[in-house]
């Protein structure tokens, strides 16, 4: 038996054995703690309910609303075209395809801020960007959009404009709701991120 072959064979086995000994690949690109700290303190990670209402009315295709409440609450009431991912299932592999889609802005909302904030931190840790929280959650939504409060006489023009907008938005949302219990699909489909934008491959 040629010495060379023996040498090669041993080399090959060592290489393969080496594979077993190296640590597991990281699946997520972990965000650095400093970056996370910085991002947390940015107020730009919040969007107001007015902004969300605006985006829905305009049919903004980059909006991806994620409702992190339990499925029961989602079915009872939810925002137009929102997807339901209960907070405790956020890291499940099935749902990962909703994140990391180019140009899409993910907005978390819950009844209030707390759960949505937690979702935000978790997704930032998983390395996703373009993640936002709807400030005040659904409670704020109901208070401002659905039951807008008329500003006092002495309030500024801006506040009146805002009020007009909210009244309009209210009509848009509650009106649509009456006609189509499906929460008025404006035809924006949230597309799951395609696995492997890669090759078609094969023979």
């Amino acid at each position: 038996m040629n010495k060379n072959y023996l040498f090669l064979a041993i080399l090959m086995i060592l290489l393969a054995a080496g594979l077993l000994l190296v640590p597991e690949r990281q699946n997520y690109q972990q965000i650095k703690p400093e970056k996370l700290m910085w991002d947390i303190t940015q107020t730009s990670r919040f969007v107001t309910v007015d902004q969300v209402a605006q985006m829905i009315i305009e049919g903004d295709p980059t909006l991806e609303l994620i409702d992190i409440r339990p499925a029961k609450d989602f079915e009872a009431f939810s925002l137009t075209n929102a997807i339901n991912i209960p907070l405790d299932s956020l890291m499940k592999p099935d749902y990962q395809d909703y994140f990391g889609i180019e140009d899409m802005n993910v907005v978390f909302y819950g009844n209030s801020d707390i759960k949505a904030d937690q979702a935000w931190v978790i997704s930032k840790r998983m390395g996703y960007n373009s993640i936002y929280v709807m400030q005040g959650g659904l409670n704020c939504w109901i208070r401002k959009i659905i039951q807008p409060v008329e500003p006092e006489e002495s309030a500024s023009q801006e506040e009146f404009d805002l009020y007009q907008f909210r009244k309009g938005a209210c009509a848009f949302f509650t009106g649509t709701k009456v006609e189509a219990p499906d929460a008025g699909k404006t035809g924006i489909k949230v597309v799951k991120r395609k696995k492997g934008t890669a090759v078609a491959g094969g023979c």
Binding site: L15, A16, L19, L20, G196
Partner: protein, 201 residues
Amino acid sequence: MGPLIPQEIITGQWDFVIALLIGGAFGFILEASGFSSSRNIAGVFYGYNFVVLRVFFTAMIVAMVGLLYFSYFGWIDLDLVFVLPTYLNSMLFGGFLMGLGFVIGGFCPGTSYTAVAIGKIDGIVFATGFLIGVFLFAEGFPFYEDFYTANDLGNITIGEMFGISNEWIAFLFVVVAIVAFYVTWLIEKRVRKNMTEYKFE
């Protein structure tokens, strides 16, 4: 870093030039190793020439181990690499037919191209037969379309199928390969001693 083309690091224009080059190297290596001769290829089934096993198995373990190492070093993103999807029923049947075709025809498509290139008529006939076979399949496709797509397990890897990590699978393959090389070396010596009329092309 890799794979380069799917991530547009190399633009689509180069796509086909690279295909030509890779194909060229493929054909060269095949022919140089002796795969342009059907008798060399069929030898693996009868024990007088194990070149198929040697080249095939070596290439497979080198590529397998290499891929896993590349992935570990972050040089390649395995999610973007094409993994052949598994259609259980269809593939079992296909493998069966191909096994028969292999032992009767003594070629496979890639090697038949090299045989044609050096002037082997049986290579040409094989390639033509292959073409006819593909045509027949496509014509009859409506009849077995369901069978064709039955049992789609998706892009499942061997490790996922058996619940073992892919690194172990690679290691197993290497060990099996080395053992196979040794055993076939012994077998080949024995068989050739008894085949006095075996002559090379």
